[in-house]
């Protein structure tokens, strides 16, 4: 893709993101109309209920969708690059379920602490990615081993999650929204807790993208170009886990964002990890905000967890990747 085309894709993405962000602020059930909400933003007098809905519900959930979309998409892209596997994503290789289990444990021990959820989520994500990495290293790295190990680890953590929710049904406020991934119960405090981590992790990933991209050339070539492949791989996996962990602590087990967005971006013939990362941040955020808006509109005035929409899109997408990979091999 030429420079003009690349610039256009970025500009279109940013404009769409701004539009989606604003639309997300004004759509949803409730007795407050768009006019009331506009009054809060631009008028001098407004109703208290409109103010509360905008500042405590709509803005936090839209910001959460923006942050989680960027975090999960970037995490997925880095995992796919580092592990050289288009099927790798935080959901597929068990990072989400590891973080989810630990968030539930935090919910039992520290029921009112967003910071504890965040920390436990990090720990769970790191435990999951470290387990998958070590098992693959022992069993021998292959694309299939990675996915199967991820499935096994994911099942193990999911079993733990189900056990906890059986014995401690109040460990998490909205069990369905957490398991499927949802943005309806996001708080501004939660957003502000996750924000610094996501931003710092994204900065690190952008700073290290040159080294990460060289891993695609194989460890020996990367070494010859001055990169320590093992160290770069470990740091990248850790940062990917932290990004996904932050998203889980905020929105529950959101699946498929880290699979769908990076794979679509890889297929639009845009080259270079830096550019792909920029697109993942923009379009990942856009994708999740759109899905969240749809989750509020499809059965309006009822709302469904955004994870249901992601699963409905993600499962066929996963199958499509498998089929297209097989065709490519042929």
């Amino acid at each position: 893709m030429k420079a003009d085309g690349r610039r256009t894709v970025v500009i279109v993405g940013i404009l769409s993101l701004i539009a989606a962000f604003l639309i997300s602020l004004f759509i949803g059930n409730g007795t407050v109309g768009t006019g009331d909400l506009l009054q809060v933003l631009f008028g001098s007098s407004y109703s208290k209920s409109a103010y509360i809905i905008l500042t405590r519900i709509r803005i936090p959930r839209t910001l959460a969708a923006l942050l989680c979309g960027a975090a999960l998409s970037s995490s997925g892209l880095v995992l796919q690059t580092v592990l050289d596997n288009p099927l790798a994503s935080p959901g597929i290789i068990g990072i989400n379920s590891g973080a989810g289990l630990f968030v539930l444990i935090a919910g039992i021990i520290f029921p009112f602490s967003a910071a504890a959820r965040q920390l436990f989520s990090f720990a769970g994500a790191v435990v999951a990615v470290a387990s998958v990495y070590l098992i693959c290293k022992i069993a021998g790295f292959s694309k299939m081993t990675l996915v199967l190990t991820g499935v096994a680890i994911s099942s193990l953590f999911t079993a733990g999650t189900n056990t906890i929710t059986t014995f401690y049904p109040n460990a998490i406020t909205d069990k369905a929204a957490f398991n499927l991934g949802g943005l309806s119960s996001v708080s501004l405090q939660g957003v502000l807790t996750a924000l610094p981590c996501i931003v710092i992790c994204l900065v690190i990933i952008f700073a290290k993208q040159g080294q990460i991209e060289l891993l695609l050339l194989g460890d020996e070539t990367a070494s010859g170009l001055g990169v320590n492949p093992e160290h770069t791989r470990k740091v990248s996996l850790l940062i990917s886990a932290l990004l996904a962990g932050s998203a889980v602590s905020l929105c529950g087990l959101l699946g498929f964002v880290g699979l769908i967005v990076p794979n679509v971006i890889r297929r639009i013939r845009c080259e270079g990890l830096l550019y792909r990362l920029i697109l993942c941040v923009i379009y990942g955020s856009l994708f999740l905000i759109i899905c969240d808006v749809l989750s509020r509109l499809i059965f309006y005035p009822y709302e469904i967890p955004v994870g249901l929409i992601l699963s409905a899109l993600g499962a066929p997408f996963f199958i499509w990747i498998l089929i297209s990979r097989r065709k490519a091999v042929r």
């Binding site: 695609l216 194989g218 070539t221 010859g224 170009l225 001055g226």
Partner: protein
């Protein structure tokens, strides 16, 4: 100049390479030859800093392991035996050759772009620039990686069986390129199985057998040892 002194490389507590003492001269082409499993690739990996070793292996006055990896990549470039067909264009691959010379955010300036274009032209792959590595042949892939090595602009160039997958025409192009690099003062070390064609290019020859050096000297004398 590369100086080897009692070099040992081990794998799972077993010595797979044990070499004596010799020096590869600066600005010359040295061929490393031997049967499969004789330790040629292992030796090149040790010089490239990919494998740990015992003993001494110096580039100029510096022990290789004491040079930080990014600085080492400015002095030594390395083409491994197996190259990966990653999801990127040939040009993007060659641009990666400039990586060791750039600090964050590693944007290439006009000089870097000229070096990249020159490297691509030098190995005769201009027509492949926009092609994906996954869509080109094994020989073209090897040439693309060779262009990346050239873009790295190091004084020492290590090539592990660069002739593999190349047809006669491209092998000749490779030998001509290596000869011109020598004329520019570069030190080239490469392993080869194709002795009939590569021997005339060598200034020095190192023969390895079962992980040991059995000969180091002039090519004419080396022929009598084979």
């Amino acid at each position: 100049m590369i100086t080897v002194d009692n070099l040992k490389v081990s794998y799972e507590d077993k010595n797979v390479l044990e070499l004596g003492s010799f020096t590869f001269p600066e600005g010359k082409i040295t061929g490393v030859i031997g049967r499969n499993g004789s330790g040629k690739s292992t030796f090149l990996k040790a010089i490239a800093g990919v494998l740990p070793y015992k003993g001494s292996l110096k580039v100029g006055k510096d022990e290789i392991t004491s040079v930080p990896s990014e600085l080492r990549a400015r002095r030594i470039s390395y083409l491994p035996q197996r190259v990966v067909s990653a999801d990127m264009t040939v040009k993007m691959l060659v641009r990666h050759g400039r990586y060791p010379w750039k600090s964050f955010p590693r944007r290439l300036n006009s000089d870097d772009k000229r070096i990249v274009d020159d490297a691509i032209a030098r190995v005769g792959i201009n027509g492949l620039s926009s092609k994906n590595l996954k869509s080109i042949s094994g020989g073209e892939l090897k040439l693309s990686y060779l262009a990346m090595i050239l873009a790295q602009q190091t004084d020492i160039i290590l090539l592990d069986e660069p002739e593999a997958h190349l047809d006669t025409e491209h092998r000749q192009l490779l030998y001509n390129t290596l000869s011109s690099l020598r004329d520019e003062g570069k030190t080239v070390v490469f392993t080869s199985h194709n002795l009939t064609e590569s021997m005339p290019v060598f200034d020095k020859v190192l023969i390895l057998d079962r992980g040991k050096d059995v000969f180091f000297g002039d090519p004419e004398e080396a022929k009598t040892k084979l």
